[in-house]
Subunit: 349 residues, 2 copies
């Protein structure tokens, strides 16, 4: 099937670009001796995860147990779950995973650690556990090296757990000082910090400038999007994910309506103007969306599209697009080579 | 199962409230002699559509063929698809539907009409077709009564199509003048405007103030959300859809992190402050989100939650939540009475 025959809205991945994105970043991390542990939340597709592993990734990162279960089912054997896993149902599923794959997790509180320890001890497991610290994003993570050291000590004395190191997101100028300070605090305990896991795609080419980080988690680098281009990590022509839509209405001379809106692209702006870039009409602005319609201002375009014309959109945020599509078409030279179900889509738990 | 046993994030629907919402609005429309044709995009669940039909709805509204196919499969026999259906693949599926159910559609251009007419004529069908006009939202729809009349005439002379009337969204002060002007233009052609289909939940209780509208399409009224409450159409205590989340981190004295973010709630703000209302902490603000985390400022709350505590969130926009969850739990008196798959979720085409 030709790409022109796909019905719209359709998510496509240009395979040549995808392959280059995977190999180029792997080579960079290899050169700097940093382990690559890509985050699959961007694509949610086991086949792409396997491509990343074949290129040299040491394992993958998932954000939810449900995502990890899909990846384990697809034969992936090393999974990092940097999320506070809380509650008996989730801990039960986590232990199921830990029996099947080489699993590591994180925690940022005594509460989370006590749950993990009780579950793992009961199952006769020794779960590798890292302490999450906040490098400035203001999400999860302990705030001080003292807190990190306290949790590391709690892990070390908890049957069922093994202290694995530190984890943060993103890697930035705060990470090295935090790691160094925590290491100093733990020196007296004889507790070594094995893994220091950092991350982000925007900072992907600066990973080597944080010498304490020995593992990098990036997600978006496989696809790229307007946000990745804006922050300079990738070029527009390197973006592999596109969404093909159809112009379904031209109510006025300047305005056009696409058959993709917030249900296709999400409402994520990430500081950008408009909800995506139309490659055929780069001067057009997707200034509004309803769930099933994109509202486009074509006034700055010399030529305007006809009703029924198909246009190609680079979305603002590739990860959320993956969660909205049930499948993605892998294309090469305009031909659909493969249809990948987005197998880990919608894994909320 | 008790609702406390559901893992989080969980979408629940309080069945008592759902039932009242359905019957109350049906009664209002019945009293005013307006046909009720609810939009299923809000819930995407055939069982709830059947509840709406049993209450007295004349049929349902879907926005995509995929949604309509799911509803037809579930035994629903009258479906309105007010969307410009374009392209051979979609037209083929549309004809498949038209053979199975009482189907009506809309168009706002000659291009769309010619496609519909050719497909329907080929199949020996006579497809009821309404003309969409723009009542000010600036989405699809013709701009003038003259354009509407021209398309109505084209429908009337197209074998395969039957002129059904006019459709707009939302119903407002512009609708009656537009309908009246179009009717005057068509009087000489002997073309009657049968259905005049308007809509919106924010304007649900004003439906009777637009005398030209004889059919109303509302979606959100079954669930309600912060947006519906803000615009005064529903009260907070009438909202039936909630999302239960767990506080997975308390990194600072004032800040808490929920296990639901933009993948659970979407990024829709709709002019509101924050990404949802936490019922147990109404003074808290969900000021930020990452995909799997909600970032909450609890500084204005006298008591702050502990890690592991579950909190109940009324989302900003109920429709997008439906598209993110694979299932919804129907609860009554704290007991899970039913688990409904969100069967029409993700129907992008």
């Amino acid at each position: 099937m030709r790409v022109e025959e796909l019905d719209t809205p359709a998510a496509i991945v240009e395979l040549d670009k995808l392959e280059v994105n995977i190999s180029r970043f792997q080579r960079y991390l290899d050169e700097h001796g940093i382990a690559n542990r890509p985050h699959i939340k961007t694509h949610k597709i086991p086949e792409i995860a396997h491509m990343q592993l074949r290129a040299g990734a040491v394992g993958i990162t998932c954000q939810k147990i449900g995502e990890a279960e899909v990846m384990a089912q697809a034969g992936i054997r090393d999974i990092f779950l940097p999320y506070n896993i809380i509650g008996e149902r989730k801990l039960e599923r986590l232990m199921g995973l830990a029996h099947r794959v080489n699993l590591s997790v994180t925690a940022d509180s005594e509460f989370t650690l006590r749950g993990l320890a009780a579950a793992a001890h009961r199952e006769g497991l020794e779960l590798e556990t890292l302490v999450e610290f906040d490098s400035g994003l203001g999400r999860c993570g302990v705030q001080t090296p003292q807190e990190a050291a306290n949790l590391a000590r709690l892990i070390a004395r908890s049957p069922g757990l093994r202290f694995g190191g530190l984890m943060t997101y993103p890697s930035n100028q705060n990470t090295d000082p935090f790691v160094i300070a925590t290491r100093a605090l733990l020196a007296g305990d004889g507790l070594a910090i094995g893994r220091v896991s950092g991350g982000s795609t925007p900072g992907m080419w600066q990973a080597h400038t944080h010498p304490e980080i020995n593992e990098h988690r990036a997600g978006m680098y496989v696809y790229g999007d307007r946000y990745t281009v804006k922050n300079g990590a990738m070029k527009l022509e390197e973006c592999s994910l596109k969404v093909i839509t159809t112009v379904v209405s031209r109510p006025t001379a300047e305005r056009g309506i696409l058959d993709g809106g917030s249900k296709t692209f999400s409402s994520d702006l990430l500081g950008l103007e408009g909800y995506g870039l139309i490659l055929e009409y780069p001067d057009a602005v997707i200034y509004g969306q309803s769930e099933e319609h994109g509202h486009v201002d074509f006034s700055q375009c010399a030529r305007k599209p006809d009703i029924g014309e198909r246009v190609t959109v680079v979305p603002n945020h590739c990860c959320v697009v993956s969660n909205l599509f049930n499948q993605v078409a892998g294309v090469r030279d305009g031909k659909v080579e493969v249809i990948w179900p987005v197998a880990a889509r919608g894994a909320l738990q």
